[in-house]
């Protein structure tokens, strides 16, 4: 039989290669020309606990994982207990028979077979892939090629173990699940990788960060490729150093970015305000996880929206934008880095663990990245804060025979400290003029995604929740219009206000309805219902479609 959407779930302890097994499965699906979405659920620990990876694949575009699996492979008892009730009809529950005696499903002696090799526990990932390959009827030769390519160490043992598991599984199943084929082989990238690539396309020179989940994978990715693309990538002593160093680098003329999650961003806020005052072009990735405080480090939420919108004391332009999909993360990262340079102000790329660390197949059009480097001052009467009509003063970088002064204090056009009431109000006006200049600019670019439906009803969402919504709308004949603002500050009121008096349902991951409240306060939205989730886990599309149906 053939499945329109096929989901493979693999679960085990941290350190057993769960995520790797998931990625290899994802790559097998992508090589068949299918669309793929992978979500990794892991705990904040290094060894033990329970981790699982969910990979859903389809011949049609797919933007979410599904919590019901067609194949569920469990390395241990805990995984079995957690996932055994999530088996889809005619699916296979494959469990480690060395850990659990006779149970429902297919028992495979993963542990005792692995003990025959020196690498032991490292083989579980190979085993999971082999068991799944058997179920989807993949040829052993093709599996061998994949194993050789994807698992770099211990190839001979890997192949031998894979063959054993593959043959054991094949002998125990009564039917093969076909997953289909496509024509285009698409790359799979993870959210933070998309953000990194967008920034690289947009001319990134320097990246600073202090490790913090779920932003760290951006630091790791850029550090690994620093030499390939001429980047300085620095892990500094704390987030305060990170943002202040970044402002220094922007002064030198480097396109600079920083990245963190809520707690680290809290430390950056002082510097964020400095960027506002000095008019430093600076992009910050803020990848949300459940707060407050340390919260739940490896899970997802959208609870820092208000924080991002008002970060930093004083009045200045903060650009805040949030991508709805991994593809959009690429384009928006590039666009935002460009915008913060055009308007010389700090910007936040607001996302969530669910986007940062999930992976999906993408079709990226590199030609769509259009970067215009800011005009550098050419005259000989340079004033850093020249009060031009649009509020934007031209940039100049050292070394220069002219004086370039950036100042944290209120300042005059030359960047010299002032307490003069004339200059205080004039410089406020100058900085605020940039807000209107930006709005004028934004009216020419795409700031809201509007996906027209044929019901007299709108669903408004943002960020990675968009991916869950789009997948959920494949069910129950739900065809509302979906409205997803990419920009949250300045909020594109000129686009959003068209819908304010219609029947609106907001979907977000915040207990206090931050996004719905933003729409109510700024655009006067009439909102019928807010569907919200705040348990750290992204929506399952089937579950969400039920919630939408009920709300309608």
């Amino acid at each position: 039989m053939k499945k329109e959407i096929f989901t493979f779930i693999v679960g085990g302890k941290a350190g057993e290669g769960v995520k790797k097994a998931g990625s290899v499965a994802a790559s097998i699906f992508a090589k068949k020309g299918l669309y793929v979405f992978q979500m990794d659920d892991y705990m904040s620990l290094i060894r033990g606990g329970h981790n699982f990876s969910v990979i859903s694949t389809s011949e049609k575009w797919i933007s979410s994982h599904y919590m019901n699996g067609n194949v569920i492979t469990c390395f241990d008892k805990r995984s079995y207990e957690m996932h055994s009730d999530k088996l889809a009809p005619e699916g296979y529950l494959i469990y480690n028979s060395d850990e659990k005696g006779d149970m429902d499903g297919i028992g495979i002696p993963f542990s005792s077979e692995a003990k025959k090799y020196p690498a032991k526990n490292l083989l579980f990932g190979v085993g999971a892939v082999a068991s799944m390959a058997a179920v989807i009827g993949m040829k052993l030769d093709d599996l061998n090629e994949t194993i050789k390519h994807e698992f770099s160490k211990g190839t001979i043992d890997n192949l031998s173990y894979a063959k054993t598991i593959y043959e054991l599984t094949s002998s125990k199943i009564d039917h093969v699940i076909e997953i289909g084929n496509g024509t285009n082989i698409r790359p799979i990238i993870f959210g933070n990788q998309a953000i990194a690539l967008g920034a690289i396309a947009s001319g990134l020179n320097v990246y600073y960060a202090y490790p913090m989940t779920p932003a760290s994978s951006l630091l790791h990715y850029l550090a690994a490729h620093a030499e390939d693309i001429g980047l300085a990538v620095i892990h500094a002593e704390n987030e305060i150093a990170v943002i202040n160093m970044a402002i220094g680098s922007a002064f030198s003329g480097a396109r600079t970015m920083v990245g963190t999650s809520g707690g680290g961003f809290a430390l950056m806020v002082e510097g964020f305000s400095l960027a506002g005052m000095t008019e430093a072009p600076l992009l910050c990735l803020l990848s949300m996880r459940p707060g407050p405080a340390t919260g739940v480090p490896t899970y997802t939420e959208q609870s820092d929206l208000n924080f991002a919108l008002s970060a930093g004391h004083g009045e200045f332009l903060r650009i805040v934008a949030s991508p709805g999909t991994i593809e959009e993360a690429f384009y928006l990262s590039a666009e935002l880095l460009d915008l913060v340079w055009k308007f010389q102000t700090p910007g936040i790329l607001l996302t969530e663990k669910h986007l940062s660390e999930s992976s999906m197949t993408v079709d990226l059009k590199l030609d769509e990245i259009k970067i215009i480097n800011p005009e550098i001052y050419q005259g000989n009467d340079y004033k850093r804060y020249r009060d031009n009509e649009d509020g934007i003063s031209q940039l100049l970088f050292p070394p220069s025979s002219q004086i370039i002064k950036w100042n944290s204090y209120e300042h005059d056009e030359n960047g010299i400290t002032t307490e003069d009431p004339h200059w205080i109000s004039r410089m406020h006006d100058k900085r605020i003029k940039k807000i209107n200049s930006l709005k004028t600019y934004m009216k020419k670019i795409k700031t809201v995604n509007i996906m027209k439906g044929d019901l007299p009803l709108n669903i408004i969402t943002y960020g990675s929740t968009t991916m869950s919504v789009l997948e959920a709308l494949k069910y129950r004949k739900l065809t509302p219009t979906v409205i997803q603002p990419l920009y949250l500050n300045p909020l594109p009121i000129w686009e959003l206000s068209k819908f304010k008096d219609q029947i609106n349902i907001v979907i977000e991951m915040s207990s206090t309805e931050q996004f719905a409240n933003l729409l109510r306060e700024k655009v006067g939205y009439n909102i019928k219902k807010v569907i919200k989730k705040f348990d750290g886990r992204p929506f399952d599309p089937i579950e969400l479609s039920t919630m939408i149906k009920e709300a309608i």
């Binding site: 790359p187 300085a232 220094g248 944290s408």
Partner: protein, 278 residues
Amino acid sequence: MENLNTPAENTWCPGCGNFGILTAVKNAIKILQENGLSKDQIVICAGIGCSGKIFDYLNLSGVYSLHGRDIATVQGIKIANPDLKVITFSGDGNAMGEGLTHILFAAKRNSDITVLMHDNGVYALTTGQFTPTTEKGWKGPSTPRGSVEEPFNALTLLLEAGATFVARGYTARINHLSELIVQAIEHEGFSFIDVLQPCVSWNNTYKHYNEIVEIIETEPSNFEEAIKIAKLRDRLPIGVVWKKKQPVFHDALYGNFNPTKNSFSREKRLEFIKNVLT
């Protein structure tokens, strides 16, 4: 020298030790220019406090940063363009209080920056509170019964953190201080000068310093000796306490590469992305 002045109104108290630092810096830049350094290559930063005001009084490019953060900002300037010579002006509250982590890490990684610490032992601009380097017993508005904390010794702290150039100067020995600043800026790596700076309004130490300050005749030849000199309190040696050669941060990180000047072209960047996606 005239071109180092700005039209900004100088608001330091008459007799402030900061005037000595301003003069010494101007002298030092003149000497550096004679030694072949272009003024255009010099970039300054400043923290917040009376010390930071020097930013407005020097006609040099740079960033007037936040309290304590100048030490991070100045490293960021250097990292993005290692061709620049960067100097930051920090008070003792700025560098040893709010900015302590940044200065210790700058020393640890041997960032090629110069930190001039205007050490007046008091938060002057905020009306005379004790700082991390103030002697125990200081009576200020935040410690009316006298501070109960022992002071930090900035020199030993930075020596232990790995600073490759540590010196002490005194604002009333301007020529000596000018020479020290030249050496600090010319030093490749992290350089720090603890500048004894009397505050005429809150902590007038001229008389005391004039009695106990003495010039170091022979630079210490080993680390233990440097620590010993740095620990002296009954007399205060001025001069170079310690210097050593060690690879600097940006060189160790990416060699001769200049992230800004050598920024990769759009074509190279898109080529990289295409490779990742295939």
